[in-house]
Amino acid sequence: MAKNIQSLERAAAMLRLLAGGERRLGLSDIASSLGLAKGTAHGILRTLQLEGFVEQDATSGRYQLGAELLRLGNSYLDVHELRARALVWTDDLARSSGESVHLGVLHQHGVLIVHHVFRPDDSRQVLEVGAMQPLHSTALGKVLSAYDPVAHSEVMEADRRSFTGRTVTAADEFEAMLDLIRAQGWAADAEETWEGVAAVSAPIHDRRRMPVGAVAVTGAVERVAPGGTLRPELIAAVRDCARAVSRDLGAGRF
C-alpha cells in the first residue's frame, strides 16, 4: 500500500472543515477539531493561504475558503478571450515578420486554429480559423505537446503519420525533440508537415503558468529558414509575441 502524505491529509481535512457551511473559523477551532497542535495547524493554513485555497479575514483573523478553489473547477480559458487578448500582438508579429501568424489550442487530439492573421503582402489568402492541424508535426502542435501534459499523452498515443520525409514519427526521437523544445522555449517545423513550408512557434501561458495555447509564424521555407537555418529574428519575434500575450492574460482576468 502506498504511504499517504500526512500533511496533505491534514490540509484536505481543513478544507472540508471550512467547506462545512458559510463559516469562518479561528486557528484554535481548526486545530482542536482536527486534533492538531496550533503550530502545526498554522503552518498548513499558511501554505494553503499562499496557494490561494484559504483566505484570512483581516479584522477577525478567522479563516475561510479561498477564491482559488472556485477557479480550480472553472479554470478553462475561453478561446475567444484568448483571441481578443492576442489581436494587437499577433497583428504586430505579422507586420514585423512579413509572414502569416496563427494561434492554436489543443482540441480533440489536434491543434485548433483559433486566430489567423494574413501575410501582409496583399495576396489572396483564405482565413484558416476553425481548421485543425496535427499535433506531432506542426510547430504549434509540438509546442503544445511539449508544454501541455494532456497534449503530450495524446500525441504519444496517437498514430504519428509521416507527411513528408522530414516528419519525426519514432517515439524516442519525438520525446528527445520535445525535451529540446522545452529547453529552448520554442519549436520549429521545417517541412515536416507540408513541403516548402516552415514555421516557428512559442507557448502562451496564463496567469498560473498553465500552457493555454501557442502562437506561430508560418511561411515559405526559403524565407523562414533560408539555407536550412531558421532566421533568429523570427524566433525572437515569435517568443516576444507569446510573452506579450501571456502577460496580457496574467494582467486583468475577468
Binding site: D78, V79, H80, E81, R83, A84, L87, V88, D91, D92, A94, R95, S96, H115, H116, V117, F118, P120, D122, Q125, L127, V129, E233, A237, D240, A244, R247, D248, A251, F254
Partner: protein, 514 residues
C-alpha cells in the same frame, strides 16, 4: 489592452505623432513611415454628470492630459522632437467648448456630444419645419448632439457670455480647435481654426460652400465673432509652441469617425468603413458630391486634403452593438466576459428562430423611431440562451445591412467590400455573419488603431512625409478577410424575419414624454 507598448523592430524615424482627444480618454500614438505603431500613451479624464442627460468634460483637465500623453508617447518611443515631422489631431466630434481668448480659461465645462440638454431648444429651432429645417444646407437633422445648439445654450445660460462674445473676447471650438489653439501658443498667438469634418458637425456650416452659413447663424443666434476659421483636414495650421514638441508643425484635424475612414484608406467613391465599438459608425465615401439622404443617414464631409476639393461621406450610426453584448454580460449574466458571447453563440448552428432587436432607446438609422423599444421575437420552447447569443450577434450584422442598404439607395453605389475596425472585430463569428448578411467581403486591416492612423496620415501628407494617398494605400495591410458563405435564399428569408421583428418594436411608447 495595455496602455503602452513598444517593439524593437522599427527603423529609426522620422515619425508622425497623432493625438486622439476622445470621449473617455486622450491618447497619443507615434507612427513610423510604414504606418506601424511605435509607442502609445493614454490618459482618461473625468465624465461629469451634473443632471440626468447632461454630460460635461473639464477642458482644462483635457488639455493637461493631452500634454502629458504627448510627452509620454515621445519618451516611450525613445525619440526626440527632432524625429517628429508633424502632429496630427483627431477628436470626439461635436463636443462644444467656449473660452476667453485673453485668459485661455474655459467659460464653462465642455458640453459633450452625448449631452441632451438642448433637446427642447432643437424642437424650438425646428419651428414649423421640424428637425430637417437646416438639412439641405448642413446635411444634418436638428438634434441635440450637434454643436450649434450647444453654443446657443452656453450663450443663453452663462451669465454675461453673450455680451463678451459679441465684444469679440470669446472663442468657440470643438475639441480639435481647443487642442490646436493651445498647442500653437494659446493666449500667446494660438491659431483659432477647425477643419471641414469637425465644422460639418456643428449644424452651422454650409456643405456646399464650406463656409459658416450666415442665415443659420442668425436663426440659432450665434455671433460670427466666436467662430474658428474653417480649414482643410490636412495642412499646416501652425507650429507647436513650448512643450516637448516645440516647433513641430500641427498639420491635420479630423473628427474621429472621419479619421478612421482616412486611416482605412477609403479614398475612392463607394469605399466604406464600419467601426464596431459600444455603438457602430459606418461611413461611405461619396466622392465630390454631398449626397442628400432620404433614408435617415447623415451627409457629412469625409475629409479635405489641402487645397484639393472636399470629399463627402454618408454616415449611419447604430446605437447599440457592443453595448448589447455588455448588457448580456452585466444585466442578464448569460456570459462572464464579452468574448464569451462567441463561445455561447457558436454552440448552436443558427438562431433557432429567435431575433433580437435592441431598440433600447428607440430605432435609429434608417428608421428614426423614438417610440420603439427592444424586442426578442420568435420565441419557442426550443430556444436556448445560445440561440439568444446568436441573435445578439446577428442584430449587429442586420443593423449594418440596413445602413448599407440605405447608403446604396441614397448614393446608387453598391458596397463592394466593408472595411471594419474596433473591438468587436476580434469576434470571428460576428465578422463571418456580417459577410453573410451583406453578401460582400468583410476586411480587417492590420493596424487596429485606424482613428489615430488617419490623423497621422493626414498630417504626414500635409508635410510631405508621405507623397500622396497612393503611398498610404500601399501601407494598408489586410489582416483577415471573411467571404460570404450563406446562400441567397437563406439570406432573404432571414432578412425578412429580421424586418418583421423590427416592425414589432415600433409604437411601444405611446405618449412621448417631453
Amino acid at each position: 489592452m495595455t496602455d503602452a507598448h513598444t517593439t524593437g523592430t522599427h527603423g529609426t524615424g522620422p515619425f508622425i505623432a497623432a493625438i486622439d482627444q476622445g470621449t473617455t480618454s486622450s491618447r497619443c500614438i507615434v507612427f513610423d513611415k510604414d504606418g506601424r505603431i511605435v509607442s502609445v500613451d493614454q490618459k482618461e479624464h473625468e465624465q461629469i454628470f451634473p443632471k440626468p442627460g447632461w454630460v460635461e468634460h473639464d477642458a482644462t483637465e483635457i488639455w493637461e492630459n493631452v500634454q502629458e500623453v504627448v510627452a509620454g508617447a515621445i519618451v516611450k518611443a525613445g525619440i526626440t522632437s527632432a524625429d517628429v515631422k508633424a502632429i496630427g489631431i483627431t477628436n470626439q466630434r461635436e463636443t462644444t467648448l467656449m473660452w476667453d481668448k485673453n485668459t485661455g480659461e474655459p467659460v464653462h465645462n465642455a458640453l459633450v456630444w452625448q449631452d441632451t440638454r438642448t433637446d427642447a431648444l432643437c424642437k424650438e429651432l425646428g419651428r414649423n419645419v421640424g428637425q430637417d429645417r437646416f438639412r439641405r444646407e448642413t446635411g444634418l437633422p436638428l438634434a441635440s448632439y450637434f454643436a450649434g445648439p450647444k453654443v446657443r445654450w452656453l450663450l443663453d445660460n452663462v451669465e454675461g457670455l453673450r455680451e463678451r462674445a459679441e465684444a469679440g473676447d470669446i472663442l468657440f471650438g470643438t475639441m480639435d480647435s481647443w487642442v490646436i489653439w493651445n498647442l500653437t501658443g494659446g493666449t500667446d498667438g494660438g491659431v483659432h481654426v477647425t477643419d471641414v469634418t469637425n465644422a460639418s458637425r456643428t449644424l452651422l456650416m454650409n456643405l456646399h460652400t464650406m463656409a459658416w452659413d450666415e442665415k443659420i447663424l442668425s436663426s440659432i443666434g450665434i455671433p460670427a465673432a466666436v467662430l474658428p476659421e474653417i480649414r482643410s483636414s490636412a495642412e499646416v495650421y501652425g507650429h507647436a509652441r513650448g512643450g516637448i514638441l516645440d516647433g513641430i508643425p500641427v498639420a491635420s484635424a479630423l473628427g474621429d469617425q472621419q479619421a478612421a475612414l482616412f486611416g482605412q484608406t477609403c479614398f475612392a467613391e463607394g469605399e466604406a468603413k464600419s467601426t464596431y465599438g459600444t455603438g457602430t459608425f459606418m461611413l461611405m465615401n461619396t466622392g465630390d458630391t454631398p449626397v442628400n439622404s432620404y433614408n435617415g443617414l447623415l451627409t457629412t464631409v469625409g475629409y479635405q486634403i489641402g487645397d484639393k476639393p472636399p470629399v463627402y461621406a454618408l454616415e449611419g450610426s447604430i446605437a447599440v452593438t457592443g453595448s448589447l453584448v455588455q448588457w448580456m454580460r452585466d444585466q442578464m449574466g448569460l456570459i462572464k466576459s464579452a468574448a464569451e458571447i462567441e463561445t455561447l453563440a457558436s454552440s448552436v448552428e443558427d438562431n433557432g428562430g429567435a431575433y433580437f432587436v435592441p431598440a433600447f432607446s428607440g430605432l435609429f438609422a434608417p428608421y428614426w423611431r423614438p417610440d420603439a423599444r427592444g424586442v426578442i421575437a420568435g420565441l419557442t420552447r426550443y430556444v436556448t440562451k445560445a440561440h439568444i447569443a446568436r441573435a445578439v450577434l446577428e442584430a449587429t450584422a442586420w443593423q449594418t445591412r440596413e445602413i448599407s442598404d440605405a447608403m446604396t439607395k441614397d448614393s446608387g453605389v453598391e458596397l463592394a467590400a466593408l472595411k471594419v475596425d474596433g473591438g468587436m472585430t476580434s469576434n470571428n463569428l460576428l465578422m463571418q455573419t456580417l459577410a453573410d448578411f451583406l453578401d460582400a467581403p468583410v476586411v480587417r486591416p492590420m493596424v487596429a488603431e485606424t482613428t489615430c492612423l488617419g490623423a497621422a496620415y493626414a498630417a504626414g501628407l500635409a508635410v510631405g512625409f508621405w507623397p500622396d494617398t497612393d503611398a498610404l494605400r500601399a501601407n494598408w495591410r489586410r489582416a483577415a478577410e471573411w467571404t460570404p458563405r450563406m446562400d441567397a435564399d437563406t439570406r432573404a428569408r432571414e432578412y425578412k424575419s429580421w424586418l418583421k421583428a423590427v416592425e414589432r418594436t415600433m409604437g411601444w411608447i405611446e405618449d412621448e414624454e417631453s
